[in-house]
Symmetry: C3
Subunit: 321 residues, 3 copies
């Protein structure tokens, strides 16, 4: 459903809801546009006329200041007005449906929604209910999708390892089960033809075979990291411990944390990635996070041009850059 919803019949992008089923040419177009936008992504006034007079609403049914901020700056640097609509302090609490909330704000003259929701599929449902001219970007739904995070991870990987992913060995490690970031990353790695995709985590924190399609599965972190070109570490939510899914943070760090010793097993020039926010000393050692292999802050920086590219293509970029 989502795949047809996010593409026009002629193959152009209408919404950005999921990397699942997104054709490789569209995915590459987003990355290429992001590269073109990079010189303007972290500041400057050059593109303030590009989408001036249009309005972006960040509609968050689940709080996330970091992701919201990244979208807010991306939209503002393209000249858009930005309306932050935080539903935890709004009328949805008053019994209004999520779709009525969206339609109400849409009627105020909003061109683009950036939506986060705790339920799987909720963002696609909202996109399906929006007016034909309205555009939607999924900023994270349930455990399912976080497409702009997946794109910024691919952009970062491409900048360091080149556009041909066929010879790459990439590891995604940690709590894959609960991670929408992992799902979007695995989908993008498959689409871009990554040579070897490894997944490592405790057995009870790995998802079923459909999610892990095409991946080599490890439960031993030392073996998993051997010879990889990139290690994408996932955040361990502290509630996993309260839920009894992880015996202790110390034990998790010992078995699955990316330590300097483990990183030494990776390929020469391997890069270390993390979507943030990090738990230092849990899934990643502080020295690794701050070390020369870490590209974690580059990922954050790449979030800007990637989000600008998505906005630009969805709104029908008229002017060349």
């Amino acid at each position: 459903m989502t795949a047809e919803l996010q593409l026009e019949p002629d193959g152009r992008l209408r919404h950005l809801l999921s990397l699942d089923g997104l054709p490789a040419p569209v995915l590459r177009q987003l990355l290429d546009q992001a590269e073109l936008l990079r010189p303007h992504a972290l500041g400057g006034s050059a593109l303030r006329g590009r989408h001036a007079g249009r309005t972006c609403c960040t509609l968050f049914f689940e709080p996330s200041t970091r992701t919201r901020s990244s979208f807010q700056l991306a939209a503002a640097r393209l000249g858009m007005d930005v309306l932050n609509f935080d539903v935890s302090t709004s009328s949805t609490k008053k019994g209004e449906t999520a779709l009525d909330t969206l339609r109400t704000i849409e009627a105020m003259g909003v061109d683009l929604f950036v939506i986060r929701h705790a339920s799987d599929g909720a963002v696609a449902e909202l996109a399906a209910g929006a007016r034909p001219g309205t555009r939607v970007i999924n900023a994270g739904d349930g455990r399912s999708n976080h497409p702009t995070q997946g794109l910024l991870d691919m952009l970062t990987l491409r900048q360091h390892k080149g556009a041909d992913f066929s010879a790459l060995k990439v590891l995604v490690a940690g709590d894959v089960l609960h991670s929408r970031v992992a799902r979007s990353d695995l989908q993008a790695l498959r689409t871009l033809g990554c040579g070897e995709i490894r997944v490592c985590g405790p057995a009870n924190l790995l998802p079923g075979p459909e999610v892990l399609r095409g991946c080599e599965v490890f439960h031993d972190m030392d073996a998993a990291v051997e010879g990889v070109d990139a290690a994408m570490m996932l955040r361990l939510q502290r509630e996993r411990m309260e839920q009894g899914l992880v015996p202790s943070l110390e034990g998790y760090y010992r078995d699955f944390g990316l330590t300097p010793a483990r990183l030494a097993r990776a390929a020469p020039g391997a890069i270390v990635m993390h979507p943030g926010p990090m738990n230092r000393g849990v899934e990643i050692d502080g020295d690794v996070a701050d070390g020369p292999r870490s590209v974690i802050l580059e990922q954050v920086a790449n979030g800007l041009p990637v989000r600008m590219a998505a906005i630009d293509l969805l709104l029908g970029a008229t002017a060349p850059l």
Copy 2:
């Protein structure tokens, strides 16, 4: 008091506090200006220079994301800087008076305040305490006033039924007692010479005769809706049930909800209005809300030009449109 406060001695609008006592020519001027502003209300950059360099502060002592957002976009589309000041996270909790809060923000160079407050009359009191040059728009005080909602309802009604209200039958239905929207609507309908104003609700949710001046009162919804040109439905706050004012939501829907069957009793071409947020299946049936008679999203859209018109006139619109 409010009437003199909101008009200059020469009859021009100084503040917009209430539709009570607002002369018909001023009310019509606001609607006419809104019509002129409509082409620019939902986006575009044409009016960004109109009030550039001036600052609007939304000062909300009671949370409301929808109304605040509408004002925020209206002010931004006229070029203003917007400061959202949410008092639930501010220093009023620290023992500061509301007037000291207003004066403090005013001293930062704020030209216009949009104020919501839970107490009747609180916004007018703040307007009375502001500097002579400062303008105030009431975004809702207690049960008393919500003038821009009343104006946008009149604009919507006028667009569908024409400027002559003398032959119109209009129904305001539901919890009139607790509704500032209903009070502003009734005041505006009287000022504009509406031919027949009907009010319908459970006896314990209707206000005293002063509020219902000039209205025909019904307790039977089937009879009330008979032949009306517009049905303005009011939101039923869920706390009315906890307060024992309504036996059950199902019973309320059965007796007072606007169902398709009831709507069939209205005049041909009758329109259905609701200020939002809606309780589907309580005061209004979902099919009615989404049906061809519903102008609910047009009301939301009209909120933008109406609020822009109020801002424009209060700030002394210098340039013709």
Copy 3:
């Protein structure tokens, strides 16, 4: 440490962290720049190109709507994009360190941080961890520093009493122990060579001799106010009573409140100052707060040019005004 951190080797300002150790010429430069910016500080579009395309982030680990709003407007009036990042609703709660939060936002292309933190020294630590090109303004840390409040107080004093402070008698009165405002004021008064600095408060609400260096200490408010040119009153936090540090608000008002009778003991033309938010009838009488000697709202208004001056100098003001 802070002193070296906030000045470049050539003496120019890199961060604004504390008035402690800030050389008099730099302090005077900030005040002079603020005077130049004043005509543009409360509105207008003249300076919108000055820092256009640059981004200011208000990063508040402790809530403060007033101070944040003042910085937000100051940055916007210089043309900056402003990102408000409230950590109480953000990922620091998720176990992320404050420095990781700062570095993440920094990577999104933020040029200037305005930071408030409840812990003494936390803002300087964050400044020390920021990238070389990033600028930091301390918007209040613990009990230690509130440099822009100190500067705006000095600007207000200078406007009323002239640039030569050597003949001035200034009183700082109230809960000096817990006040970062008092510390910044005392530091600035010493730097600018104030003739006589008096401090008055209950013995258990006065700090140690290091903070009170160069001050004359009073516990009798009548004596303290005698002949002063300015009385700077401090806010009494209501929790001081719960902590048992103050027997009652009535008793505090009787012994230390600035009443009309006490104010009559001050020098002719003496001014009354307060950083806000005020507790009327506790540390200050309502009639004094609203009276002709009060410059409290001028202080608020001066916050804008002072903050614009700090931003302007930190970002390397290129164009003359």
